[in-house]
Amino acid sequence: MNINATLIAQMIMFAIFVWFCMRFIWPPIVNALDARKKQIADGLAAADRGKHELELAAKRASESLHEAKMKASEIIAQAEKRAAQIVDDAKVAAQAEGDRQLAAAQANIQQEVFRAREQLRGQVAALVVAGAEKVLRREVDAKVHADLLEAVTNEL
């Protein structure tokens, strides 16, 4: 309970402890605490940013989905139009082809008719000649009367 030189020794000891603490203990620990605080703040900020970006991405995704839908319906409409057109074209082409074939058939028929008529005419001529022969009871010289016969044939 006496004040003695212990006082001085205690003061020195205390000062050394405080100095050591100030020099070697406080700064590294507080720096680490600050660093962790910063890390956490950065992390939170990054999370916020991420969330924001997520929202943006979702918005973009729904926008592009919408756009794609629009495009798809447009394409479908176009395709439908095109299909209708193709059908129309095909109809027209078919019609034309039908007409053409009809015309060809008609021409053919005409030709056949013509040919048949020619044939018929020839046969009729022959028949007429034969008839005339019989009528005249004499032979008609085909060579002599060829011109005559020709003229008859043409008249038919």
Binding site: M1, N2, I3, N4, A5, T6, L7, I8, A9, Q10, M11, M13, F14, A15, F17, V18, F20, C21, M22, F24, I25, W26, P28, I29, V30, N31, A32, L33, A35, R36, Q39
Partner: protein
């Protein structure tokens, strides 16, 4: 209380005496009747001897225990500071960080200036005083008892019940207050603060007296508050310990005393946990406040 020759008074005196190593003058008659031929550095073997050593003496127990506790603090915190990481903290680092954040918040709450010394100072004060106070919770007879068995005459386990330890800290803090007062306000500013308020320059002697008392009261109150609380607490532990010491065979009275000792020392120890922490906290907070006042222009 092992030696049957001890009386209560001797027991108390024994527990309140520091182990003192100091110089006794030539011609001094020792406790055991021996007369010294020359100046001798020796351990005091009685309170009177310790007193007669005057200023040239060291309380070995105070120095030793506070040194060991201080080194324990330094070692623990340095170990953490070396391996400190900003990532996930381990157990020891968690504890140290918790303490440091607590101190840092206290300093930020009370100290408005900028000074890298204040927070480490507060940390050292808090932990060191806490650990020194905590020695009070070691059962009162253990450490002195072991010392007696080893042939050491006295040993006081709680450094803060020695005014040398508390004044050692408070005077160091006082020097810091003076240093920063002069550094921040200039010598003129500091002297002006001491002499020119509260009554203006015509009340100079009264001002100086009031402010001087105010200034000197800081270290004195700081040291005596801590010392007084711990000393009184120690005293009560000693008195409680005396109850069971009156043991003289199994009788109702003796058993009651014995039981009361156990209950009372338990109760007082639990209450003392609060005092131990509170006194360390008060010393730290007041130090911060005094240093803050030293940094401010007007207060």
């Amino acid at each position: 209380m092992s030696a049957e020759a001890h009386t209560s008074t001797e027991y108390i005196k024994h527990h309140l005496q520091n182990l003192t190593y100091g110089k006794l003058p030539a011609g001094y008659q020792r406790h055991d009747g021996e007369t010294l031929q020359a100046d001798t550095w020796t351990l005091a073997h009685s309170p009177q001897e310790a007193k007669d050593m005057g200023f040239s003496a060291f309380n070995v127990d105070t120095l030793g225990i506070s040194l060991v506790l201080g080194l324990l603090f330094i070692w623990l915190f340095r170990k953490v500071a070396k391996s400190v990481t900003a990532g996930i903290p381990g157990g020891a680092q968690n504890f140290v960080e918790w303490v440091i954040e607590f101190i840092d918040n206290s300093v930020k709450g009370s100290f408005t200036g900028r000074n890298p010394l204040v927070a480490p100072l507060a940390l050292t004060i808090f932990i060191w005083i806490f650990m020194m106070n905590f020695m009070d919770l070691v059962p009162i007879d253990w450490i002195p008892g072991v010392a007696t068995l080893l042939g050491v005459p006295y040993l006081k386990a709680v450094p803060t019940t020695d005014p040398n330890a508390t004044f050692g800290m408070s005077i160091t803090v006082f020097f810091l207050v003076l240093y920063y007062s002069v550094k921040m306000k200039g010598l003129g500013g500091f002297v002006g603060e001491l002499t020119l308020q509260p009554f203006g320059k015509f009340g100079l002697p009264a001002n100086f007296f009031l402010e001087g008392v105010n200034l000197l009261a800081k270290p004195v109150s700081l040291a005596l508050r801590l010392f007084g609380n711990m000393y009184a607490g120690e005293m009560i532990f000693i008195l409680i310990a005396l109850m069971g010491g009156a043991w003289a065979g199994a009788s109702i009275g003796n058993l009651t005393l014995f039981g009361s000792q156990i209950l009372l020392s338990l109760g007082w120890a639990i209450f003392h946990i609060l005092i131990v922490t509170l006194q360390a906290f008060i010393f730290m907070t007041l130090t911060i406040v005094y240093l803050d006042m030293a940094h401010q222009e007007h207060h």
